[in-house]
């Protein structure tokens, strides 16, 4: 698993695969205030991205790769 679920924080590591979107969604459904840490994430599958977008998840740390971080900021910080 590339996502480690802690009390109120989901830690993303390396490449987060499509299979992990479902558990992520369930976690966010249970913990609407849950935050995500993407610092060590190099990529997440679009399914995870849309789960984060749908949940308006707040991001504790952005990826180290600045261009990847730009993509995610554009997606997650956009008001909707």
């Amino acid at each position: 698993m590339a996502i480690e679920f802690r009390k109120n924080l989901a830690l993303f590591r390396d490449v987060v695969s499509v299979e992990e979107a479902e558990p992520l969604l369930e976690w966010l459904q249970k913990k609407p205030a849950g935050r995500v840490d993407l610092a060590d994430c190099t990529h997440l599958h679009a399914a995870n991205l849309q789960v984060l977008m749908a949940a308006c998840a707040s991001v504790k740390a952005w990826p180290k790769d600045p261009f990847f971080a730009d993509w995610l900021r554009a997606a997650l910080l956009r008001p909707h």
Partner: protein
């Protein structure tokens, strides 16, 4: 983590060629000579990150293999590429409809093959 690729083709020549290309590029390669053999490997626990399959094969052809793989638990998201010769666009479209991710055209040059795979597999 090296990515595992299952390559299915009844031509030993192609298997030899593709295997060496992929291994040179750091992939772990499993092979099968027809759809039936590939399916058996998947059922017995092989979990490749990508499947590349020929279409025209004895016993179980690539189209049938795609159908079977997509119905197999744990493989619904596994990317599948077909490797066909030019001029079989109808077959590859059929494959695409059944859930194949894309196709490669034989003869595929090593760098192109690797390029397409890297386009599909994050972290490859």
């Amino acid at each position: 983590m090296a990515k595992t690729i299952l390559y299915v083709d009844d031509s030993t020549t192609m298997v030899m060629s593709v295997r060496s290309t992929l291994e040179m590029n750091g992939f772990k390669v499993e092979t099968a000579g027809d759809g039936e053999a590939a399916y058996a490997k998947l059922k017995s626990g092989l979990k490749p990150d990508l499947i590349i399959t020929d279409i025209n094969m004895p016993k179980m052809n690539g189209i049938e293999l795609i159908k079977q793989v997509k119905a197999l638990p744990g493989f619904r998201f596994t990317p599948i590429l077909t490797l066909t010769t030019e001029g079989s666009s109808d077959r590859r479209d059929e494959a695409k409809k059944l859930g194949a991710t894309g196709w490669l055209v034989k003869p595929v040059a090593g760098p192109d093959l690797v390029k397409v795979i890297k386009q599909l597999l994050p972290g490859a």
